[in-house]
């Protein structure tokens, strides 16, 4: 379980996160939803320690992450996998090298072992015969899948996904959602997903936290979200004709 307690974060004079307290449960897809600019990415980057929080603390299974030195953080970071919005694959490395990278840096595995693991992870995300390609030669959906393979290569306990299906067509987006869902259950990972995609919400929303202007506004799951009377959440969820029809 990951827990944020009273987290606040300000950039300059713009307070992005306002006293956010939220829990993310093990073996579940924990969705953070909210409008573009509401602070989802900032919250996620606070969770993984890319941004220092101004106030509050972050707990990874009761280990106080926000108080740690870089060396101590490193221990926990090796238990974290993260999927960035654009994939963030290393341009100068091949697909295979990207997936092997965490293993090369932090394990004593031989090249054989690392390659086996990379191939396993790549096949897990349905990428075959592309080991020697460079990221610039991949489509958007493939990049995301390779990035997932890289995120899970070192057996993470925690998986973070920032807008995993933004910029993808609905079908590919759904493939990515399902993949994350399967991996979460298969390995009993604590998965945190930022999204503003209602399809994902309905598809994989085991636990949903709605962020509104930097505050935690509502919590629930994919069933309760359809029957909420929270005004701001309703405005967000039923913003389109399609979702309005769905409610009826």
């Amino acid at each position: 379980m990951i827990e944020a307690k009273n987290v606040s974060k300000t950039f300059g004079d713009h307070q992005v996160l306002k006293n956010v307290s939220v829990k993310f449960e093990k073996g579940k897809n924990n969705l953070i939803i909210g409008q573009s600019g509401s602070g989802k990415t900032v919250l996620m980057k606070c969770l993984v320690g890319l941004y220092e929080v101004d106030k509050g603390k972050i707990l990874f299974d009761d280990r106080n992450f926000s108080k740690m030195s870089f060396a101590e953080m490193k221990e926990i970071r090796q238990e974290i996998g993260m999927l960035f919005q654009g994939g963030a694959l290393f341009d100068s490395m091949t697909v295979e090298e990207n997936v092997m990278f965490p293993l090369s840096m932090f394990t004593r595995q031989t090249l054989e072992e690392r390659r086996d693991r990379a191939n396993f992870c790549l096949s897990r995300v349905n990428i075959v015969n592309s080991n020697k390609l460079y990221p610039s030669e991949l489509s958007g959906g493939m990049k995301k899948r390779v990035a997932i393979a890289r995120a899970i290569s070192n057996h993470p306990k925690y998986l973070f996904c920032d807008e995993p299906n933004s910029g993808l067509d609905p079908k590919t987006a759904n493939v990515i959602d399902k993949l994350i869902n399967e991996i979460t259950q298969e390995y009993n990972i604590t998965t945190v997903i930022n999204t503003h995609d209602m399809n994902s919400v309905i598809e994989i929303g085991d636990k949903i936290s709605y962020i509104y202007e930097g505050q935690l506004w509502w919590e629930g799951d994919k069933t309760t979200i359809m029957h909420t009377d929270n005004k701001e959440l309703n405005d967000f969820v039923f913003a389109t004709e399609l979702t309005r029809k769905l409610r009826k």
Binding site: K45, V48, L50, F70, M73, K74, E75, R77, Q78, I80, M82, F84, Q85, G86, A88, L89, F90, D91, F101, P102, S104, M105, F106, N154
Partner: protein, 244 residues
């Protein structure tokens, strides 16, 4: 200005932290020597040959006097190449070529979250990205400058010969006349310092890029300008320190 200097110094402390895995860093250093060093051989060779040729012709016209011996042309060409042209001018060229490459590479990695990805994995991105570049350049640039000296002198010899302004014998005599090894040492010290300035300053501007591709372009321009200015300033400081 002061804020930049402070941030730069803090980054350098990060860069020289203990690396995670030695073997990986050794590989990265060789990789960078290839990308930053070997890739620059062509342009350095080209410029050195031609500038050496021009220097000799200019010397010949300037020293056109019956009381000054012809070999002085070789002597003066050698002096200006070793003391100033090769270490300083070639380093300025490298600031343009290598500096912009480093800043745009690291800047792109920053804006596409590749640096965040490194950090998340528990890798120290500053060390991983910048340290191998600094070491590779500090080791490889002296070799480039030695090559530049040799080729510029060769260029001078060729142009003297073909223009008929300096005979081969006089030129070669002048090249060896009152040769001081300390001149080469001075050139190497300058080169190593300049290599550090180019790579660390460009790394700095790349590392703190914010925004998108436009800002990556700006970072790369700034990297070149600031490294060049620093080369010029440190050139004066080092010359005062080492020759005065």
């Amino acid at each position: 200005m002061l804020r930049h200097l402070g941030q730069y110094l803090l980054l350098m402390i990060q860069v020289f932290k203990k690396p995670e895995k030695k073997s990986i860093y050794l590989n990265r250093i060789f990789f960078e020597m290839d990308k930053l060093g070997l890739d620059s051989i062509g342009i350095v060779a080209f410029i050195s040959l031609f500038v050496g040729a021009v220097l000799t012709i200019q010397m010949a016209f300037n020293i056109d006097s019956p009381i000054v011996p012809i070999y002085t042309i070789g002597f003066a060409t050698r002096k200006s190449i070793i003391l100033e042209f090769a270490p300083t001018i070639i380093s300025l060229i490298l600031a343009g070529k290598v500096g912009s490459r480093i800043a745009s590479e690291i800047g792109t990695m920053r804006v596409t979250e590749q640096i965040d990805a490194l950090e998340i994995m528990g890798v120290n991105p500053a060390t991983y990205l910048i340290f191998p570049k600094i070491i590779a350049s500090m080791v490889f640039n002296p070799l480039l400058i030695l090559m530049s000296i040799a080729l510029a002198i060769l260029g001078g010899w060729l142009s003297g010969l073909f223009s008929g302004l300096v005979g081969s014998y006089e030129y070669v005599y002048g090249i060896q006349f009152q040769f001081q090894m300390y001149d080469v040492t001075y050139a190497m010290i300058k080169t190593v310092v300049f290599a550090f300035l180019i790579t660390s300053i460009s790394g700095y501007f790349g590392y703190y890029t914010k925004g998108g591709s436009l800002e990556v372009g700006e970072a790369s321009t700034r990297a070149v300008v600031v490294s060049s200015v620093n080369i010029i300033i440190f050139n004066l400081l080092l010359t005062n320190l080492l020759l005065a």
